[in-house]
Amino acid sequence: MKFYTTLIFLCLAEVIHTQKLFTLNGYVNEMGSGESLIGVNIFLKSNPTKGSTTNSYGFYSLTLPEGEYDIVYSYIGYTNVEKKIILTHNQSLNINLNSGITLEEIVISSEDIKKNVQSNEMGTQELNIETVRKLPALFGEVDIIKSLQLLPGISSASEGATGLYVRGGGPDQNLVLLDEAIVYNTGHLLGFFSVFNSDAIKNTKLIKGSMPAEYGGRISSVIDVQMKEGNMENYTIEGGVGLISSRLTIQGPIAKNKSSFIISGRRTYVLDLAQPFIKNTDFAGTNYYFYDLNSKVNYRLSPRDRIYISTYFGRDVFKFSNTERDFSVRLPYGNATATFRWNHLINNNIFSNLSLLYNNYNFNLGADQEVFSVSVKSGIKDFSAKGDIDYYPNTQHHIKTGFRYTYHILTPNLVNASNGEVDFSTKLEPKYGHESEVYILDDWKIRSKLGLNYGIRFSTFTQVGPYTRSTDSVIYKSGEAVKTYVIPEPRLVFNYGLNQNQSIKGGVNLSGQYIHLVSNSGTTFPTDIWVPSTEKVRPQIGIQYAIGYFRNLMDNAIEFSIETYYKTLMNQLDYRESYVENFSSDVETEFVRGNGQAFGLELFVAKKRGKLNGWIGYTLSRTERWFDEIENGRVFPAVYDRPHDISIVTNYEINKKWQLSVSFTYATGRRFTPIKSLFIIDSKPNIEYGPRNSDRLKDYHRMDLSLIYSNKNVKKKRFHSSWAFSIYNLYNRKNPFFSYTDIDNDVFSGNATAKQINVSLFTLIPSISWNFNWNTK
């Protein structure tokens, strides 16, 4: 701790002693839409190591000694802009970049190509939405989360699922942000589709390694999703019609170049189409669909002030009805988020943002039969305030500091039931908590070859009342502290450049996590409950050490990296052995606490330019857990322990109208707990299971293909459309999705059989979707 404090002060002292400087600042936007561009590289043509990048709002600030400079604005997929600046006073300069070369580029990293080598970041990837749209997709549904699974170090829960397991971490250990608001449930339809509508999304950043101090609350990764802001210059309508869903997005200026809006919606309709057939059966009224609605407005109050208001609302709705038995089930669940942000330029090189955030994930289930009824409710609701300051004292330092405060309300499974005479309830109370964090970090280019991103984050969590302690019935009043945890979270990444094209980076970071999701199934479920840290449930702590070698080849056309990591995970949660879901007790009494570790090696090679582009990722890893109360502390592999994981993604631009993409994935088979034996009780066979996760399904691999026909290169047309043809699982590989047992119950007949059967879910699936874009200009 003392070391970090000293380091911060040394750095600040160094900043203060810098000579008098002038500042060039402004925003970088996309030409034609006015969308701010994140991560644009701005540097001196004469000395590319001196520069800056735009922040999450497209803002940049360069503070330099008085002089004349050629400034380059560079962003992959966009034409570079050069500006000659005579810096004799502070200046503001907004820049528009033209995305004229998108089709020829694979935009795996939306940053200057040398950033792979020269930035003080590791384990970080950005996925531009244009890249995601080219990839083959299940049922043609473009999916950001599934695209992330094609990167090294990321694996999925199961076939087609959107759950992410990052470097051996659990699915609850990823901080998923949509315009800074936390999204607690990222999947629709049991996780087969993500909640992110690609039409509304601008950019996705994944940090799987050394998390900078500005991020916290989860111990494995950050998935920072930014919504589009809305076209500032003209109105556009875009959308698409696919096999299972359709999408529509409208955006445009409210006041030209001052204010804009975007509204985007998506809804599935597979069972809607089946309604005429269902209507005349006993199951009339049965339906399932999901939808998402994103909206955002922004307003430039003054050159120094901007506000953004963005919202997301999504629901899965399942209705089941059986008139034969007078039985019905209704099951709506989903997320809602809202973000209000106020950007204020305090002075030329100090940028601030204040955010007010709200997010709510809730799950409801209601079932009725005659006079009997039951309803189940659970969820998590957060109210947050967040402030961040970016300070650019010179081209060597980018200092960031800020805070975040969140009030959590976590509702356990509240069950209400009635038998027509008496009402019953679980009487479980919601849990409440205050989570607070402050941080400071410095992204420091010490010399041209040496850089450091270091910082510290202090986080605290206090469980507060109303709460009744189960052990001694002590009652805590509303707001009264029950238990407080404090975790100092140091973060450090260094970058040592061997030359212009090679560097070695290393990092260590410690993170804490106070909100947990423990799943009792092979994947996460909408029914899984988020629980806070309490007297009984301690915060999870993760420490990750990573080191890597980064190199650009062939005039930066090829980017290569090899990273290794070792991660220790403390206070991991799982259900006790033989746990059976029930609503009668506080779920935290069913938890056991343990530890884990994960280690691995990741190789990544990307070709970014040319008609043929793409990447290859390979991961070699192990992930283990151990709990004193599970199998007597035996170390067992996590269910997502998959030592080998390969992804190959290629894009080929056949001509200006046709584009081909092929992806191939291979992973060691998923772990499962095998059947050890059968034993007879009550004259029926029953299963005794072997050691946890001690066997594997067979290896997973598949190839997908997409072919996109587009007429959008036809200039001067307001209406553009494209057809996307996609084949999922091209060679019809039967990858096991799950196993079930088929056992004759009449064992004493002497003719009983027992079988285990693997079920493959997605065999070869072709799909087609039509997408369009209409623009007033």
């Binding site: 038995r325 079932a367 004259s683 029926k684 299963i687």
Partner: protein, 310 residues
């Protein structure tokens, strides 16, 4: 209600048509059999004497034929139940030694269909009913087989009878042939009660339903009305009339109180049996046998005979 059931319906509706199946062949070469106990001590007006079935677990064979079954039952064990300082030994009785009527009665009492049992096996029974049946008293089980010793214990809890039964029309569409059964209990407020029930249609064996146990969390100490569905026989498909009783039939309802360990065993076992599907995790069955698998359970029961309204 298990929430995951709802998701099975969703996944079936959505993905049922695009999946395919493949049988897995298991390697049982490293399998070591374990002893399996199924034993009950029951207090009721017509209780079967305390008995114990001693078997061995078997590998996950593709076929459970007669040779496998004949090797399943363990003979020659010394089975004792301790009550206080007194030790009561159970007698080994083999089916082939018994007259066919008694054989049939035994099989029905231990929940087997006499017509489908094609092998001879032996059970350990307190034939002379020497073991006193007492409430809330610790019964200790000890089994010695060669050099192995297996232990367990159980208790017989207080009984809470069903006060009232009545029949009503089945919900939903009109059905003149079947009725649903309701019952009412006055739950005891001073303790956590664990219940298990069995049913039999006319001329059928008394069997537990797929979910046969529940506790009183939701209705502790209350006057509680509930439905009693007719238990489905092993392998019986769920149909529109599942759970309902045929009008005019004479049926039986067996209602028991069991202790916590006994409840945990059936609760985990019954959920384990239903854990089939893409999103389910395995459930390890929680028995109360040391050095073996299975259950040694005390229970206090009453069997009611009812005539379903016409």
């Amino acid at each position: 209600m298990k929430l995951q059931f709802v998701f099975y319906i969703i996944s079936f509706l959505f993905f049922g048509l695009i999946s395919c199946e493949e049988e897995v062949v298991h390697d049982n070469s490293n399998f070591t059999p374990q002893y399996v106990i199924e034993s009950y001590i029951e207090k009721s007006g017509n209780a079967f004497p305390p008995y114990l079935l001693l078997t061995k677990s078997i590998g996950f064979y593709s076929k459970i034929d007669l040779s496998v079954l004949n090797n399943l039952f363990v003979s020659g064990a010394k089975v004792s139940i301790l009550l206080g300082n007194n030790k009561y030994e159970l007698d080994e009785v083999c089916l082939s030694q018994l007259p066919s009527e008694i054989r049939k009665e035994i099989l029905i009492n231990i929940g087997l269909n006499p017509d489908s049992v094609s092998i001879d096996f032996c059970a350990y029974i307190d034939v002379n009913r020497r073991l006193p049946i007492q409430l809330n008293t610790r019964y200790e089980l000890e089994i010695v087989i060669n050099t192995d010793t297996i232990k367990s214990y159980t208790t017989i809890p207080d009984f809470n009878p069903i006060d009232t039964f009545w029949f009503a029309d089945v919900p939903g569409l009109v059905n003149d042939s079947f009725a649903q059964l309701f019952g009412r209990i006055k739950d005891l407020p001073t303790q956590v009660d664990y219940y298990r029930y069995f049913t039999a249609g006319q001329g059928e064996s008394i069997i537990p339903d797929i979910v046969s146990v529940f506790d009183d969390f939701f209705f502790n100490g209350q006057n509680f009305k509930f439905t009693i569905p007719k238990a489905r026989a092993p392998g019986e498909e769920f149909t529109d009339i599942s759970g309902y009783f045929r009008r005019g039939d004479t049926i039986k309802i067996k209602w028991c109180n069991i202790d916590k360990a006994h409840y945990d065993f059936w609760n985990t076992l019954e959920v384990s049996r239903t854990r089939q599907g893409p999103f389910s995790n395995y459930i390890r069955i929680k028995g109360n046998i040391v050095n073996g698998l299975g259950i040694f359970g005390g229970q206090q029961c009453e069997t009611y005979t009812l005539v379903v309204i016409e």
